[in-house]
């Protein structure tokens, strides 16, 4: 996968969580996704089209997302509820927006769809495109989350 995609989403994720939730997540080494890995409790997924197509998912562990959304709203949230799923959709949208702006400055115009949110203990996300996906693992003081990217350049006809 083009390293520019990885950098754009990595930077977007850190930027959004730092600005909106006052949390600075620590990225780990990106790796190729294999079955049984990269599970989360709440995920935001967004489709991407344009000069490159694919999808991006943010999968949060319960503890990490409770802390992130509690910080965003300035109130203590103790369980996965509507506020959490709502916020995950918005975080996904923002990360995609920042990443796409970064990619636009590199000459890659990409559009984002409306994000979808799924929740359920320890689920894994499958991308419809079926190509290889790259996982960027992140650690926060309250637990891990991952950014899962499956993207490829559109071949010129």
């Amino acid at each position: 996968m083009d390293v520019r995609f990885i950098n754009a989403f990595l930077e977007g994720t850190i930027n959004v969580l730092k600005t909106m939730a006052f949390i600075e997540p620590k990225p780990g080494k990106p790796y190729l996704k294999k079955d049984g890995l990269a599970k989360g409790d709440v995920s935001g997924i967004i489709g991407l089209t344009g000069m490159a197509t694919g999808s991006m998912a943010l999968s949060f562990s319960e503890k990490s997302i409770l802390k992130i959304v509690s910080n965003m709203l300035g109130e203590d949230i103790k369980e996965i509820n509507g506020d959490i799923t709502d916020a995950v959709g918005e975080i996904t949208n923002m990360v995609s927006g920042v990443a796409r702006k970064n990619l636009e400055s590199l000459g890659l115009n990409i559009l984002g769809a409306i994000p979808t949110v799924v929740s359920g203990k320890s689920h894994s996300v499958s991308h419809v495109m079926g190509g290889p996906s790259i996982i960027i693992p992140f650690e926060t003081e309250d637990g891990p989350f991952v950014v899962d990217i499956c993207m490829s350049m559109v071949k010129k006809k």
Binding site: V16, M72, L73, D86, A87, G97
Partner: protein, 128 residues
């Protein structure tokens, strides 16, 4: 020009959580009077029924999006002069050009801090 922190601000966003986030940021910045609407249609109902001094609206919304709301506001004799701050996750040039052409007063790209939001509001009010 002194910014009136008591002015009535309308926050329009289909995500209830994002409205809460913006409300929190506005309160941090000292603004006290905030009304919410979940989309452009609901926003127009509020604008017709109560005094609003400043609109902060998301771009992507169902029913009536931020751009359509902006056009409706600018086309209405009673509302056309209202300052309109567009909030968007789309920092794409094409969208910004579209919003400027439609008469947006200013725009702010998500994510943003209370300081940045406050600066944008002040800049917008001072430019009127």
């Amino acid at each position: 020009m002194e910014i009136d922190k008591n002015m009535e601000i309308l926050v329009v966003d289909d995500f209830a959580t994002m409205r809460k986030v913006i409300k929190n940021l506005l309160k941090q910045a000292g603004y006290k009077n905030i009304t919410e609407a979940e989309d452009g249609v609901a926003a127009l109902t509020v604008l017709k029924s109560q005094k609003i001094n400043f609109i902060i609206s998301d771009w992507n919304m169902p029913n009536m999006n931020g751009l359509e709301l902006l056009k409706a506001v600018r086309a209405d004799n009673e509302l056309s002069g209202l300052p309109f701050l567009m909030v968007t996750a789309e920092g794409l040039k094409e969208n910004i050009v579209q919003a400027v052409k439609a008469g947006v007063s200013n725009y702010i790209i998500k994510p943003f801090t209370a300081e940045v939001l406050s600066e944008k509001i002040e800049k917008t009010v001072k430019s009127l």
